[in-house]
């Protein structure tokens, strides 16, 4: 009986560590998905010459679908006035990543503490030719 009780306690402790292994991989996959979405967004921004309402909405939708976070929690900033071919465009995307610690309840970590913001702050060169007259 004593062995059973101690074994049960040990398994509970072990599970908390094993869960973290899978949770870390999920977090990494969310980061990679956000990166890929931002890369697609960057290609559109290059052609548009700046961040527009359309490409911003598309990025929010992509990231929300890939990471499961709410669209309004994603922050996007940067160059919003069209710049011509060869000029620099800046964009900064902040994505909230939640559930970093797998067994947060076991360790006493609240959901407000169990998160971080992944920031992508980059530059690209415009390919916009001004043909649409903006």
């Amino acid at each position: 009986m004593k062995d059973l009780i101690t074994s049960a306690a040990c398994i509970a402790i072990l599970l908390a560590f094993v869960l973290q292994f899978t949770q870390s991989q999920v977090t990494y996959n969310h980061i990679t998905s956000a990166d890929q979405s931002v890369n697609t967004f960057k290609e559109v921004v290059k052609q548009d010459g700046c961040i527009t309402a359309q490409n911003e909405a598309a990025l929010r939708g992509d990231i929300a679908a890939a990471t499961g976070c709410r669209q309004e929690k994603i922050r996007i900033s940067g160059t919003r006035k069209p710049v011509m071919r060869g000029e620099r465009i800046h964009y900064r995307v902040t994505v909230p990543i939640e559930g970093v610690i797998g067994a947060s309840g076991f360790w006493g970590i609240s959901s407000a503490e169990n998160r971080f913001s992944y920031v992508i702050d980059r530059y690209t060169t415009s390919e916009y030719l001004g043909s649409d007259g903006r």
């Binding site: 074994s7 040990c10 560590f17 292994f21 990494y28 990679t32």
Partner: protein, 117 residues
């Protein structure tokens, strides 16, 4: 006592594996960042063409300007000058710019050519 020893052993093993996983993911992420920076640097450099030659139907990249633009863009996106950046040019009907960024054992390479519209 036996249970405790086995549990501690397993915890050490899992923590070692988690540490290796973190290290592996960090390296992959850094390589992705480097590839992105190399892509952007090469795309930026490929835009630095000689306008006068272009008017005569010849595409010629202005090397000094392209190299400066590539370096600026690469370090701007990577955050700091932590690696080595190499830029290669090829001449011809469609000249290309190749940017190679190396940081320790990591290497990212990107090749672009000027695309006229």
């Amino acid at each position: 006592m036996k249970n405790m020893i086995i549990t501690i052993g397993m915890i050490i093993f899992i923590m070692t594996m988690t540490g290796m996983q973190y290290r592996c993911n960090s390296v992959l992420h850094r390589k992705q960042d480097m590839k992105f920076a190399a892509d952007e640097a090469a795309a930026t450099a490929a835009l630095c063409i000689d306008r006068e030659a272009f008017g005569q139907g010849i595409i010629k990249i202005r090397r000094a300007e392209a190299e400066r633009a590539a370096r600026d863009m690469a370090w701007l996106n990577l955050g700091k000058e932590s690696g080595k950046l190499e830029i290669r040019f090829t001449e011809g009907v469609r000249p290309t710019v190749t940017v190679i960024i190396t940081e320790g054992k990591l290497r990212a390479e990107s090749e672009y050519e000027y695309v006229p519209y």
